[in-house]
Each structure stands twice: as C-alpha cells, then as structure tokens.
Point group: C3
Amino acid sequence: MLPKNFSLDVANLLAIVRQTKPLVHNITNYVTVNDVANILLAIGASPIMADAKEEAADIASISKALVLNIGTLNERTVESMILAGKAANERNIPVIFDPVGAGASKFRNEVTNQILESVKISILRGNLSEISFIAGLQSSTKGVDVSEADLSNDAESVANLVAKKFNCTAVITGKVDIISDSKRLAKISNGHPQMSKVTGTGCMSSAITGAFAATTNDMFLAGIAALTSMGIAGEIAYEKTQNLGTGSFRNAIIDSISCLDTNTILERGKIE
Amino acid sequence: MLPKNFSLDVANLLAIVRQTKPLVHNITNYVTVNDVANILLAIGASPIMADAKEEAADIASISKALVLNIGTLNERTVESMILAGKAANERNIPVIFDPVGAGASKFRNEVTNQILESVKISILRGNLSEISFIAGLQSSTKGVDVSEADLSNDAESVANLVAKKFNCTAVITGKVDIISDSKRLAKISNGHPQMSKVTGTGCMSSAITGAFAATTNDMFLAGIAALTSMGIAGEIAYEKTQNLGTGSFRNAIIDSISCLDTNTILERGKIE
Amino acid sequence: MLPKNFSLDVANLLAIVRQTKPLVHNITNYVTVNDVANILLAIGASPIMADAKEEAADIASISKALVLNIGTLNERTVESMILAGKAANERNIPVIFDPVGAGASKFRNEVTNQILESVKISILRGNLSEISFIAGLQSSTKGVDVSEADLSNDAESVANLVAKKFNCTAVITGKVDIISDSKRLAKISNGHPQMSKVTGTGCMSSAITGAFAATTNDMFLAGIAALTSMGIAGEIAYEKTQNLGTGSFRNAIIDSISCLDTNTILERGKIE
C-alpha cells in the first residue's frame, strides 16, 4: 500500500530532526519525564518541560511541537495543558496528545474530553484501550496498560474512526502499530514485547512523535517515523540486553535511539 | 523459629504476582517514582501512579494494593493519600505506608500521624529512625536516611511495638531487615550496604511489598517476600557491578528483580 | 594564575564530603531529580528533596546547603524556595541557585528576579544564556539549552559582572567552565560535548556544588571542586561508553562520580 521506500522518508526526517534540533514542549507526567527528556535529546531534539500556567502558553509559542501527556494529571497541569494547546493552535504548532489511562477514572475521562474539545490535536497516540475509549467504544481500561478485553477491538477500524472524528492522525501502539489519518493507513511491525515491561515506552513514543511532527507538515509521516524509530530501538535494545534484565533494556532503548542512523532504518524498518 | 522452607513460600508468591499482574496504585514521591514503576513491572505487577484528589479514590478502588509514600509530600497529595486510603480500606485493599523522613520536620510528623489516624495500614515500612518516630520513641531523623543515633534503638522491639500499636505488619529495613506482626517475627539477612548509596531502594521495597500484599492475605508473608526479593536483588546487583559504580548498581537492582526466579530465592534467601 | 596544586584542594574537599556526608536540601525540578539525588549520594552527600511550603524552612534549617533549581517551577514551589532560602540565609547555610531557562519566559524571568531579590545567593550556576540574562545582557534563551546567539557573549566578563552584582560566586558552564567571585577567576577545561546530549548534567553540577559548599567557607573553591568533578566524570563516562549511546553515558557519569578519587582528580584536573 505504501511506497517501498517509506523507510527512506523516515531516515530523511530523522536527519532533519538532528540538523534543526527542534524545541519540543512537554507537559507530561513525573513518572517517565526523565526518559522523555533523554529520548528527545537522543533523537536530536531539544526538550523543554514547563507546566506552570503562568508560562505554559509562552513556552508553547516558542516551541516547534507540543506534547500533552496526562499520565499523572492534576487540576493545575490540566489548566496548563489547555493554555499551551490553545497557544500552539494559534500558531499552527502541532499538538500531540497521549491520553494515558483514558477510561480508567471519571477524572481522566473528563479531562480527555475537555482537552479534545478545547485543543485541535494533530496526532493522538495511545494503546488500544485508550484510543477505544476516545472512539466512544466499550473500553475496559485497567490502569495505564492495555486491557486484554479490549484486544478484541479491531485496531485499524478504531484508528480510522478516531482519525476521522477528530480530523487528526491516530496512532495505536501495540504488537503491530497502526497509524491512520483516515485516508492512509500504515502498519509497523517493529518492536519487541519486552517494551511493555518498562515504564515510559508509550510516553517516549509520543515525545519523539513531537520531534518528528516539528519537522514536517505530514503528521502521518511523523507518526510513522516515530513508531518505526521506537520499534527498531526496542528490537536492538533487546538484542543487546536480553539476558540482563529490564533495567539494562530501558537504557539500551535510549542508547539505540541516540545511535539510530539511515542504514539501520533502511535495513530494519517494517512499514506497510 | 520459622519453617525452613519459608523461601519456598516467597517463591510461590512471586509466581502468583507474575501470573496475576496485580494493579498497584502508588501515591509517591517524584524523586524515585520512575524506579518504583520499573521495579513493579520487573516483579510482574502493573503500576499506576495517580495523585489527583479527583481520581485518587477511583484508582485505589480498582487496584489490588495501595502504596502511600510521603517522600515529597505536599498539601495536595496528602489529601489524595487519605482519600485513596479510605477507599482502599472500604474494599479491604491492603495499604502499605512508607513514612519517608518521618521525624525530620513538623509537617512530616503531622502528616504521618494524620495518615495513621485516618487510614488503616496493613504494612508499615521504614528505616529505624522513621519507625522509631512512629513508635513514639526518641528519634533523631536526619533527612531521609537513618540517623546513627537511632541505631541504638532495638529494631526488634520497635517493630513489635509498632505492629501491636497499629495492628499491622511492621517492616524495618536495615543491615538486617525486621518484620513483625506482633505475633511472629522474621529477620532477613539479605542485601548489601551499597543499597544505601542509591536513592529509592526503600521506596522500591515498599512498592514491591504492595505487589506481594496484593496476592496474599498474609501481610507478614508479603513483607518477608518483598524484603527477601529486594535483598537478593541487591546482592546480585553488587556482584555484577561492584567495580562499576552506583549508576550501574541501580540498574542492576531492577535487572535482578526482573530475572528473579524460584531457584535464586531458594538458594539465596536468608530468612529466619 | 591559580596555584599548581589546586587539584589537591579539590581532592581534599571531596574527602571531607565523603567523611561528613552533608545533608543537602534540594528544591528542584521533577525532570532530573532522581539523577540529582543519585549524584549527591555518589559524591558522598545525603540528599533531601522537600518542596512543601509547610516544611521548606524547617528542612533548610537542618541542612548544610540549599540548592534551588527552577527547571519546572510553579507557584507553589517558588514560595517554598523563598521560604527555604530565607531560612538558610538566617543560619549562614550556603544557597546555590540554578536559574534553569531564565530568559525563556516572562514567568521564569520574574521568578529569577524575585529569588535574587529575596535570597542572598552564595553560588549562581547556569549556562551562558541564563547567566547573561541575569547580568542584564541581551539573551536569546531557547528553552533550557544555551542559545548559539549568546555564545558571542564573553563568558569571563559575564561571570565577573554577575559575581560583583550579586556579591556571589558565579559559575558559567560550557565548553570551558568559568568560575568567578569577582576577585578570582578560574577556568576548567574538563568535560565532554556529549554531556549536552543527556538531560540533567547542569542540575547535577549545581547539586554537587551544594555538597562542596556544605564543607568549606570558600565558595569559589566549592564551585571549582564541583565543576572539576563533573567534568572529569563526563570524560571518563565518555571513554567507557562512547560506542554505546547516551543512556549508558548518563549512568556512567554517576558511576564515575561514585568512583572519583584523589589520584583521578590530580591526574585529570584541568584547572587554571
């Protein structure tokens, strides 16, 4: 469905990220924020974390992309997310939204809806439970990990539905990552199951989606580039650390992103 | 005092954690939260961090254990801790309390007392300074590390006193870890002194205590399982990284928990 | 300019840190707080993080140094910084101020000025963009990394200006680190460019500046000791991990600080 050389587009976009070092503003959770900052540096971007309402809009305005992540949301940061989101919208700065744990509590559901109503989202990235909730489907989110009950939902249909509903690119990460802008659909088969055994691989995926979105107008390509990069990094990390454990694996993911190059993407990218 | 095959009980409980992947709700500090999430994943549980008062009770209610840690408490999170604690109590979900730095400031002391008055605690875990404070003894807490002056307190008596006073299991970590439910007493001699040279080993111990408490009704056993696991992980981590330094040691602790298996527990467990 | 054996003073101060394990109070950002705690433990100090206004002054009062870092400031923590800063001032406890991202938003600028007006700072540490802003010079801060436009400012003059203006020791980190107390000037040529590819090397530098400031009355020496230590750690970390990537590099920095000894400082210190 996609041109054979799609991996080349990803590699080219990575080169642009490394040249232009785009400033990526993150309002994110405090669990994985350090990994998010380090993976953004590793991909070649310049991360800034700023969630005070007094500066959220100012920082968003000087950034090239804004990443909103509700992993550990609270009243204060939700207000900042909306202020930053609106400021980004005014300047056509892409906004990536990671609705961590949507479906798990009334508060998360309300905040998710509030953000979707107040801010025009460019790319929505979550697991199948979270995106199913946003699609308005039955969802049985258990905490922040995908619920096994939700795995029966058809990820491709869910992604298409959400992409159309919010006029955005929808990214559902899982064994196979699905990316849809409602007209085009991509599947990425990179990655390794152990990525679900360390916290933050989802958050890191959303963050580097921001780095790629900062350097192209094609949000569909940005989603592909981010998930291909993360998936390849997960594979290499596992190969390097398989007998060592999940602490080493987590570091190796960041190592692999920092060492990612054109050849590796061309050789390993499984995009269709 | 304890049956010789206590290590087998620990190994069996670990197997249940890995099968059932219990959701463990943490309201914890932002210093070590990432390590806490990663060690919970490494032991086989599913961590969720949520400290907004709007959702604290909801998330606690769907969890299998709640871990309260006051390492970097503030007004907002204290309120959430109490809401979550009460919701857990109503559903007989075990609550683990880690009174980080109790004794170090009036505010920490007041919050510690407030939590102990409002929430029924299943397992209380701290160092000798913190638990001495809770026992009502003289305590000379210096920050969040155990004070040398407090080392003269008799850990076994302190643990028994606190276990009786709060009708809970008390766990005092140190060179030898003491676990008491006021009727039974266990001592665990696993671990390595270098564990005090990385931040978060206490927090991680409390978190995996939550994972074990989620899978048994015997809180005394849950405490033993957690401290034996952490102690063994510390030993293996030191053996693997002794010449490398504390950054590598910290990762190796998480590695070791993720690789922990029945044989290792049976061979290394020093429970009496 | 400086005596040849300045490295010896650094080594001696490190030995004192390791003997006395000074309690260092940090009110800092949640991005790099874990690395900050671990590097303080690695250098031999005892870190405490406490940012609730209810205890900020109490904790500062029992500490040997206070480190204020505005990386992810908000209304609540700013109030705590000022309370802690004033309590430290009353007891002659040295205060280190890291104005992360000063110049990047109106809010950060206002808070920076508010802290400088309310609290007597012993050591001010930042990159050239941040310290240029404080000096009242044109500054074109882009996020939290140094702006290339600002590299034309003469770091030595900026450091001298700020040191005089605030009667403090000013530390500007960069390719060559500059330390000035307005009467004396030191340049440290240790370090490695890859240090800018992991988050938190600046925050960690400020934190260990606190550890050294806790053990000497000479703030100029404390600044030199911290930056020499960090620079050497960066060099060793790069030598050990150069083909591995930035995740490994970050851990190796903490490893290297924990293994730092007199001989390494004497052999590698490039202080002039």
